[in-house]
Symmetry: C2
Subunit: 203 residues, 2 copies
Amino acid sequence: MSRPPATKASSEPVDEQPGSYALLGLIEQAGGSSHGYSLLQEFVPGKPLADIIQLNPSMLYHLLKRLAAREWIVIEQTAGGAPRSRQRCRITPAGRDELTRWIRTPVAHTRELRLEFLVKLAVARMICPDLEPDLVDEQITLCHSWRDSMVVELEQLGEKPESSAGFKPLVLSLRLNQTESACRWLEDLLPQRTLSRGRERAG
Amino acid sequence: MSRPPATKASSEPVDEQPGSYALLGLIEQAGGSSHGYSLLQEFVPGKPLADIIQLNPSMLYHLLKRLAAREWIVIEQTAGGAPRSRQRCRITPAGRDELTRWIRTPVAHTRELRLEFLVKLAVARMICPDLEPDLVDEQITLCHSWRDSMVVELEQLGEKPESSAGFKPLVLSLRLNQTESACRWLEDLLPQRTLSRGRERAG
DNA sequence: AGAGCCATGTAAGAGGTTACATGATTAG
DNA sequence: CTAATCATGTAACCTCTTACATGGCTCT
């Protein structure tokens, strides 16, 4: 499970998937330790995280093992006798470091906003609400830089007439559209930090 | 990817992935038969399809076998002696039917526009350019219906104040934004059909 | 006694990715 | 001779999903 994907020079640490960090965040929020089943309860309909991501039991326990393999948590069996007793998951200092590192790192693609960025946001609200404005700001900055470089790229494509034969302009303009609307969505997120409640803006 | 993982009733026909249809379309365009390596050449940088989707050799031959298993193509070995001789892939009538069915079916999610819809468009331009306007029109209609139902859903969420605690409105407004920008992008595609003799852009 | 929740998993299987194997022919 | 290109794959490994196994406990 050491996870050297053998492909990307193995120097990059390679993030876990959002679900793993959601779990890490829930454990941290619970005071640094929790157990599988109570974590599972946070993913039933009605709980905030369930609006963003769903985790079934199999996946949850699987992810917990991966977290343990990375030494971001330790898993202790609490009862000795019963074959399937409650297990206690405790976050390690390394896990805490990794969690805050991950929260503060903006997502690298527009498509990751829906799942990964929202999980970051939700976890930040749970364990470090003060970070939320920074988190949104940095994501906005990054999104703007994507947009700017795509605009440049599109202009360059427009200069060479042979490029209009291919689908590059179409692909780029779609991605540009999506990125621009993502920027607007992120910017709409900002006012919410000053409005404590009551103001709904539908669209 | 977005495929219902096979244990689900197995009565649904379940589309192949876009790459499979790209191959089917290339074979059809080549007069109904082609072979692996020359299909591979259509995915090297510079070829139109390469702007949309990339296929490595492993995946390409894997997909060809799947197409053969579905009896959408038949694979014949042409040379008898050599261990790895050229193989000929010929599209079957069922394959042709499936290809046109797939082309005419709009994609079911906004996220599939980038890859699957563009492959449909590219394949349509190759083998049935007259269909392109319909293809775009139908996708626009569908996109609009998504947008409308999301607007309704957001309004309903706005009526129940307890929902503002969760992330549902955020998720929905992001998806609505993305869908709206997808609609605009699709609409931008339409004027191109008035330049319907599109062969001039090759030079 | 049976239903249902608590609690934790294993098994099976689909799908995809990368690295690598194989052997022919052609070009420098 | 060596390298590249032609041409087709296999092997190993990863992820995620669904179905199901396992037992204790509690409530009716």
